[in-house]
Amino acid sequence: MIEVENLTKRYGRTTAVDGVSFRVQKGEILGFLGPNGAGKTTTMRILTCYLPPTEGTARVAGYDVLQSPLEVKRRVGYIPETPPLYPDMDVDGFLDFCAKIKGVPSASRKAKIDEAVEKTRIGDVRRKLIGQLSKGYRQRVGLAQAILANPDVLILDEPTAGLDPKQIIETRELIKSLGGGHTIVLSTHILPEVSMTCGRVVIINKGKVVAEDTPDNLTRRLRGAGALRVDVRGDAAAAAEAVRSVPGVLSVRARAESPETTTLEVEAEAGRDVRSAIARAVVSRGLDLLALQQVGMSLEEIFLHLTTSDTAHAEPPPPPPPASQEVTA
């Protein structure tokens, strides 16, 4: 549905987007993740034909943003970071105007407006002036405007920015419910949002794509199959020794949780499942295995990791915070 190839946008001397490429399939929800100023908004503005790219191509539903902008615009619903609203219009009047400029035929205009109002739950403020609405309502009016013409593609720039927790949850639910019927690209710097709503994530930093995968895969890939947490009842040193003897284990760190139990943090070779071997090793030494758990890196950690270090792909993730009484292999 969306094909972006080698997209570059320069403003004078600064390069806001630098050779970005990605694809979005029909019905998919793609999360666009990156710190402020990473080039998310610029990329989205190019996709909505608001800005022309300096280099590269972007196609929406097969139409190039430079060659046939009107066709692209007809198929895209967009909310910029601050929803573009006329404060002196009432909600109904505003949606009516939007329907007109989006080319919704007059016969179905009222039905479409009603539908958008219902989906975004703004029915109780339809006669109010937009200038008097709260931030949450304004955001929803912006969303109503975007879905009004029932576009194939929805592009949402930070759709939950500035909302209260309840509204954030509602908005996420709404976005999720829109997925499937619409292809959605949403940008955010709030990480849980991505793992909650998106099927796939593109992490962008300083105008470049640094990672692209499903949230789960990203987590797995960055840790390898590696990180395990093993809870053992018994002597810490013995437990560490037992686990270390398992082939494929790279490092073990032990810390005593209580006089009897020990928690081991184990790092294993990527792609090698050592869980059963560890279990056997622990039990064969006469220690009790209490828990064995694969620990993924949270999206937050991946994000920080990818966007703060320059050689993101080459380096292993940074060590977890120092634990008490360390025994390192």
Partner: protein
């Protein structure tokens, strides 16, 4: 068809804004009030003059006084000055406000062309200005009601047409200036200065002046009003005004487009 509908949607939205805020009412009020005042003064002057003329008549002749010449023409000229002041009020926010509010992004990502947006905004302002002229003409209706020999109606119509075309030049230019900034006040002041500049070009109209001055004077918007206010619609004047308007809108369109490339 869709193009017309898009332009109309913009016009409708701008009108909703004009009449949803004090702008339209203030503009209409100032315009009709000044029209009335100028009309009153011109009328009393006309009465005094015609009284004197009547006295002279007793001693055998004197100039015949026409309402068109003594009443309608000076009022039209005065109103042109008022248009100079009011036009920036109508145009300054057209694009500046959209840029400040960020709503330009809504328009730019909707399936309408920049030309349709520019035309819609121009027609909205021109429409309101046309309404102002009509409201002013109500004063003149009084003459038809009371005057024993009504004045010629054709010069009144052509005078109104001149006023409309003349004002539309300002409006087209004002739409352009409004695209240059996100600050309404700046747009307003710049437009006014520009209008004043174009206006004063007409002052160079002097038969003894050199060719450069004559050419400049030709560009002055006021010089092309004279004949029309007298009741003579010369094609070259109409063409001048229309090309001026097209040029202003062309500048506005180019400005809107180029800003996207520079952004």
């Amino acid at each position: 068809m869709t193009a017309l509908r898009n332009v109309w949607a913009i016009v409708e939205k701008e009108w909703r804004h004009y009449f949803g805020s004090p702008i339209a009412y203030v503009a209409l009020m100032v315009w009709t009030l000044l029209f009335g005042i100028f009309f009153y003064f011109a009328f009393s002057l006309f009465l005094r003059q015609s009284m004197m003329a009547a006295q002279q008549m007793e001693f055998g002749g004197g100039p015949k006084m026409s309402l068109n010449e003594w009443l309608i023409r000076p009022v039209m000229h005065n109103m042109a000055v008022v248009a100079l002041f009011l036009a920036p009020m109508l145009t300054m926010r057209l694009f500046a406000e959209e840029k400040r509010q960020g709503t330009i992004e809504l328009l730019a990502t909707a399936p309408i062309t920049d030309l349709q947006i520019v035309l819609g905004k121009f027609l909205a302002a021109a429409g309101l200005y046309g309404l102002m002229i009509l409201a002013g003409l109500l004063n003149l209706a009084l003459i038809w009601y009371y005057a024993p020999t009504p004045p010629e109606w054709k010069p009144v119509l052509t005078g109104a047409l001149a006023l409309l075309l003349f004002g539309c030049c300002f409006i087209a230019l004002g739409v352009f200036v409004s695209t240059l900034t996100r600050n309404q006040i700046v747009a307003g002041i710049l437009s006014f200065c520009l209008f004043l500049g174009v206006w004063t070009l007409g002052w160079a109209d002097d038969p003894s002046a050199g060719p450069v001055m004559r050419a400049l004077a030709y560009l002055g918007v006021t010089t092309h009003m004279e004949d029309m206010v007298k009741g003579v619609v010369d094609l070259k004047d109409v063409v001048f005004y229309l090309s001026f308007i097209v040029f202003g809108l062309f500048l506005a369109h180019e400005s809107v487009q180029s800003q996207r490339w520079r952004a």
